[in-house]
Symmetry: C2
Subunit: 368 residues, 2 copies
């Protein structure tokens, strides 16, 4: 290459595709008090008290030392939890870290990156950062997984969210198994919400080395602020992940906090059970308003608002989004896709938060 | 592309260069008690007590929420600390995160990745992960920066450690400025150890948009276990970093802990001052043994051991390394380069640790 002069702009020095990149836009994290925050699928309940104790125990002198580069204690506990071996587990700085590493391993150049649309909106961002050709697995309004179409995608890796985001619809293991039998690449079942579902794909790992299951402590364990997730897969896959992983990707405090959360199963089960009950009650209330609401296997639901005159559509969804925002209730609106723009995605909050939401919707329907 | 069958191995599905990757080998983190750990340049003193208080304050309910995606409070404090603006700062999950992002922006394909050899051994690993052609800036035993040779490197980005690792030798701003004037790419001054040096490159940022300075809380702030580092650069560079950065790369606890450390300047100054005094005393002791020891501007020194008969060389260095290891003293040995294989890199520990080291070396010299 011929070196450009020192006065060229930095973007000219960067790889050509960087010019067209945009940072991922996460849900709003409002400053200040008084918000009802139902926009990023956080857990409305605090993490286990044992997490606080574990973090306090890590807060002092030991921080001068690097963390265990393999997150060994956590890795072993995760393996035990799922009936796997430690060599089947890779711990990440959030499951976003894992998704990024998978994209770096299998995407870019001639290797296309497949992902479900709608799905977690990070996948196309990661594919773009890696300059990987995006290949989409498109759904229709039924949100059913089209196994034949998915298996035919010309991609080295296929990411899909199960239960899906933002719809909350869960996919059956029977369908995922057929996909694993037919697809030529790696299937990544992004199970960020699987703890709220009746089924998950972990049992398929033993039979299918082309499956990777990703999980997070952010949702069901109430630890979004700590950034811990993991991959489950064959020993070969975990070895590949370790080749591209930062050796100190998970700090001491996060390793200890996540381990404490995982070990407090009674607390975990109680919180997840409560969220599922609230979810199902609220979904029924939305349906009672006459709003189409997908059956949710996650900690949020995807509902199609109708205004006081019974109308739905993008203007109605956006209108309610803005009305809620004005009243300090945050939900998520995805206006850019035909299958999402009539809907709002609403995280399951506490009983008090869901009551606030319901009252403001009543007000909107009256005034609209 | 033609999709391979489901029975192909995963490494065949991955990008071709992945086959040849190896995970970075960090320094040994021993389990169990009784070790004198002088191998990873950790701080022998605990972090500021205010860090512990800040982490404890973050350990509870708030963890259910995602962190501030821009690490705003920390970013502002870092900017103030260096007399810059927040748009000149990007916070990373350790400075390794920043180095990785810089490699992803500027390396790969036709864009070669330049780095100093010897230097931080992560650079070639990051270049390999990105499949970027490595271009080395080679030193001779003088460890002087050859500005003309560096400026002529056909690379888009040039990483160099200053003060250098593993030698500890600091580079003069006058030389770095000449490099910035002549080199056509981005210069990354990896200042992981700059808090122990007399000079740093921050003042050059205003004049040279092709400079990036990276820093870490791991060494001088005693927070290796927390994983926080940062980049300083032009607003354009920070914008590029944000395009490829994970939006939640730094968790709540790490943001709060690093902020508390930065704000406790009296504690910081006291610890850094003590380490520098210990470093200079110990370096003099090594020289008094007749061991060539580079002048160190870091929290470690690079010394060429001589055995009881006055011999030096790779066998002597390795022999002492193994003798120390057997006696539960860990230092770092880099056998694979002609400029490093006669030397050991020894982190500056507490007074008691340096005494232990000295006594075991005496024993080795007597028995060798």
């Amino acid at each position: 290459m011929s070196a450009p002069g020192p006065r060229s702009s930095l973007v000219d020095l960067a790889l050509p595709h960087v010019r067209d990149l945009h940072a991922y836009t996460p849900g709003i994290q409002p400053a200040g008090e008084g918000w009802t925050k139902l926009n990023t699928n956080e857990n409305p309940y605090p993490p286990s008290p044992k997490v606080e104790a574990a973090i306090r125990a890590e807060a002092g002198e030991g921080l001068r030392k690097y963390p265990d580069p393999k997150s060994t204690a956590l890795r072993m506990a995760v393996a035990r939890h799922h009936g796997l071996r430690p060599e089947n587990v890779c711990i990440g700085n959030g499951s976003d870290d894992i998704l990024n590493l998978l994209t770096r391993l299998f995407g870019g150049g001639e290797k296309a990156v497949g992902f479900s649309v709608p799905g977690y909106s990070l996948y196309p961002v990661l594919a773009a950062i890696q300059n990987g050709k995006p290949v989409t697995l498109d759904f229709d309004r039924s949100m059913k997984l089209d196994v034949e179409a998915a298996a035919a995608l010309p991609a080295s890796v296929l990411f899909f969210t199960t239960p899906n985001a933002p719809t909350g619809v869960g996919f059956a293991n029977a369908d995922i198994e057929r996909l694993l039998q037919k697809f030529g690449g790696l299937v990544v079942a992004d199970e960020a919400y699987a703890d709220f579902a009746e089924e998950n794909a972990v049992s398929l790992l033993e039979k299918y080395p082309n499956l990777c299951v990703t999980r997070t402590f952010s949702k069901s364990h109430g630890l979004a602020g700590l950034r811990v997730g993991y991959a489950l897969g064959s020993a070969e896959l975990i070895d590949l992940l370790d080749r591209v992983r930062d050796s100190y990707n998970v700090n001491r405090v996060s390793q200890a906090g996540a381990l404490a959360a995982l070990e407090d199963q009674p607390y975990f089960q109680a919180v997840v059970g409560k969220i599922k009950r609230t979810r199902d009650e609220c979904a029924e209330q939305f349906r009672a308003r006459g709003w189409f609401t997908y059956p949710s296997a996650a900690n949020f639901f995807f509902t199609e608002p109708r205004d006081g005159k019974g109308r739905s559509g993008p203007e109605v969804a956006q209108g309610l989004y803005e009305f809620l925002l004005k009243n300090k209730v945050l939900v998520r609106y995805f206006p850019s896709h035909v299958l999402t723009r009539n809907f709002l995605r609403i995280s399951v909050g506490s009983d008090a938060e869901m009551l606030t939401l319901s009252q403001i919707i009543d007000l909107w329907q009256k005034t609209g």
